[in-house]
């Protein structure tokens, strides 16, 4: 398989996880492309304007990429704490609309600020890897790390609290779960993941512009989660991989590919209302893997 398509798919999977995290506690936030854009713009600015990082070296040092990721993670996390504290008071479709507004405000501002790339964007972002396979490996490592983290979270107190809020927020609060804080943690984690992906994406794409974080991206990333399923982290990962690959794999059919893509998003939820990775499938897996059964079944046994 083509390594650059693989990288795109892995990036899609990571963005799917970012949308999934708030959704695990029932919060439909579409802010992911906003934080993705913040991470990407930050990486683009640092690597092209701050020469100490090694932007003029033949290959851009990976340590600088890691530094950018730390900075992007901190920036997105800090912003998410502030934004989340206000926005998460909203429920359901109101939260979704508020986050769409947020993404649009960020996009239009970036578009009009020459210092942030303006309408043209930032070009010639230095490359830490000479081969696309380097990006694929790097992104795969990040995805594996984040999936591991999600898996841990889903099995501990925080993950159970998140699921309880999704099922019934009022009941969760009555049981002593700090719903405000739990939702905020999920929102911040989502923002950090999106920011990290933005950094990788900026280097991988070699150029960055405001259009990369727009409303279309909000909806596409949401489709990853709905298509893949939102019960466990594997859902958005599978959804992101498949739906990112689909338009590319459909390229031979030319102009029809986006129509087919639309049909998949239209028909997918009708055929599989709970996504590809749905509770029935998860149950079947647990049955097959008795070793994991005890630990995996524990969270679901709680009301």
């Amino acid at each position: 398989m083509d390594a650059s398509l693989l990288t795109q798919m892995l990036i899609g999977a990571l963005l799917g996880v970012s949308v999934y995290l708030p959704l695990r506690c029932g919060q439909l936030s579409l802010a992911t492309p906003g934080f993705y854009a913040i991470g990407g713009t930050l990486a683009a600015l640092l690597s092209t304007r701050v020469s100490v990082l090694g932007g003029n070296d033949p290959t851009y040092p990976i340590s600088s990429v890691l530094l950018e990721m730390v900075l992007a993670g901190l920036l997105c996390g800090a912003l998410a704490v502030g934004i989340g504290a206000v926005v998460l008071r909203l429920r359901g479709v109101y939260l979704a609309i508020a986050t769409i507004a947020l993404v649009e405000i960020l996009r239009v501002t970036t578009l009009n600020q020459e210092g942030l790339g303006g309408a043209v964007g930032i070009f010639g972002i230095p490359q830490p890897f000479n081969e696309p396979s380097g990006y694929a490996l790097f992104t795969l490592l990040l995805l594996a790390g984040i999936c591991w983290l999600c898996d841990r979270v889903e099995r501990n107190r925080l993950g159970r609290a998140m699921a309880a809020i999704r099922d019934d927020e009022l009941a969760a609060a009555c049981q002593g779960i700090n719903t405000e804080r739990t939702k905020l943690v999920a929102f911040v984690l989502s923002a950090v993941v999106a920011g990290l992906v933005g950094v990788i994406s900026a280097h991988f794409l070699n150029s960055w512009n405001a259009r990369l974080g727009n409303f279309d991206a909000s909806i596409t990333t949401l489709a990853f989660v709905v298509f893949g399923g939102s019960r466990t982290w594997a859902g958005p990962v599978v959804g992101g991989l498949v739906l990112t690959a689909l338009p590319e794999l459909l390229r031979p059919i030319g102009d029809l590919r986006l129509i087919v893509f639309g049909l998949v998003i239209l028909v997918g939820p009708l055929l599989l209302p709970q996504g590809l990775i749905n509770p029935a499938l998860i149950g079947a897996w647990r049955h097959r893997l008795p070793g994991r059964r005890a630990s995996a079944a524990a969270p679901e046994s709680r009301p």
């Binding site: 439909l28 206000v86 926005v87 008071r89 909203l90 479709v93 109101y94 979704a96 609309i97 508020a98 769409i100 507004a101 947020l102 649009e104 405000i105 239009v108 501002t109 578009l111 009009n112 009022l170 409303f215 279309d216 909806i219 949401l222 489709a223 709905v226 298509f227 102009d255 029809l256 986006l258 129509i259 893509f261 639309g262 049909l263 998949v264 998003i265 239209l266 028909v267 997918g268 939820p269 009708l270 209302p273």
Partner: protein, 310 residues
């Protein structure tokens, strides 16, 4: 004074389109509690239908290159028929993307995705058939009307006045229908509680279809009018309006008809007040408004607060 009138009319005519748009969302939202993301695509379709019906020729790209209807209708008739065609498409969307989910009692969130899928299909279908270039509905379609008239010393484009007039007529008719007629009351009953309404003998499914049909009709008319006053900037041009409409919807209060109108006019006028040197930030106005309103008054300007039920 002349400048002020000019500004106000610019704002009002843009705002009227936003209001028509938001009303379509509101009708569907009030009966189903979900947002129909294919609404922007229906709006776009309305604009293209109008263009074709007045005898416009398709450009060089797309499968229908050079296609032209053998007849050319007057603008008014074309607009009306485009509205009807858009209503039919909207009903089709309801049938394919909404009804199967509703019958299964699935998570309302899924309708967001399926309607979006329907929108993606429609927009790309348009692109495939007529290409991505922009089309303009010539103002000469309004045969017999002057291009601009003087009003209190201000030079006003006739198109803007027409837009305002048509929007006002539609909005008033819709409000009268919802508040006064038997079927309007039935619609409100379904909006209040679909299953109770059904028990009382109101055909909920039929009312939902009416809501979708009307919503599509309004979107189609709005599309045709914008195509006339600005231009059809390609298959994607409804998306920007779709997002603004969402802002208008929340500003006025989800599910409130007067709220949608008020929200549309406020955002239209606020955008018209943005000075030319900051015109790049014009789009921020609607979202900024929306954001502040959501935080201070989540139910919107004219919305109702619903108590949390256990």
């Amino acid at each position: 004074m002349a400048d002020l009138i000019q500004l106000l009319l610019n704002g009002l005519s843009t705002g009227a389109v936003y209001a028509l748009f938001a009303l379509g969302y509101t009708l569907v939202f009030s009966v189903l509690g979900v947002i129909n993301f294919a609404h922007g695509a229906v709006f776009t379709l309305g604009a293209y239908f109008t263009f074709l019906l007045i005898g416009g020729a398709v450009g060089a790209n797309g499968l229908l290159a050079g296609f032209q209807l053998p007849f050319a209708l007057p603008f008014w008739l074309a607009l009306l028929l485009a509205g009807v065609a858009a209503a039919v498409v909207s009903l089709l969307i309801e049938h394919i993307a909404f009804r199967p989910l509703r019958e299964r009692g699935a998570d309302p969130l899924l309708a967001l995705i399926t309607s979006l899928g329907a929108g993606v299909v429609l927009v790309n279908l348009i692109q495939l058939l007529v290409g991505a270039e922009s089309y303009a509905i010539p103002t000469s379609a309004l045969a017999g009307l002057p291009a601009a008239i003087r009003l209190f010393g201000a030079q006003v484009r006739t198109v803007q006045l027409l837009l305002l007039a048509v929007a006002a007529v539609l909005l008033v008719a819709l409000s009268l229908w919802i508040d006064g007629s038997r079927s309007g009351k039935a619609l409100r009953a379904v909006a209040e509680d679909a299953s109770t309404a059904q028990l009382l003998g109101i055909p909920s499914g039929r009312m939902i279809q009416i809501a979708f049909g009307l919503s599509g009709f309004l979107a189609g008319i709005a599309g045709g009018l914008v195509g006339l006053s600005v231009s059809i900037a390609g298959p994607y041009f409804g998306i920007g309006y779709g997002l603004k409409g969402l802002g208008v919807l929340v500003l006025g209060g989800l599910g409130s008809v007067p709220g949608a109108v008020l929200g549309g006019l406020i955002i239209g006028i606020a955008e018209a007040c943005v000075p030319a040197e900051l015109s790049g930030y014009r789009d921020v106005v609607a979202y900024g408004f929306l954001f502040v309103v959501l935080l201070l008054r989540p139910q919107g300007l004219l919305g109702r607060v619903l108590p949390t039920k256990v």
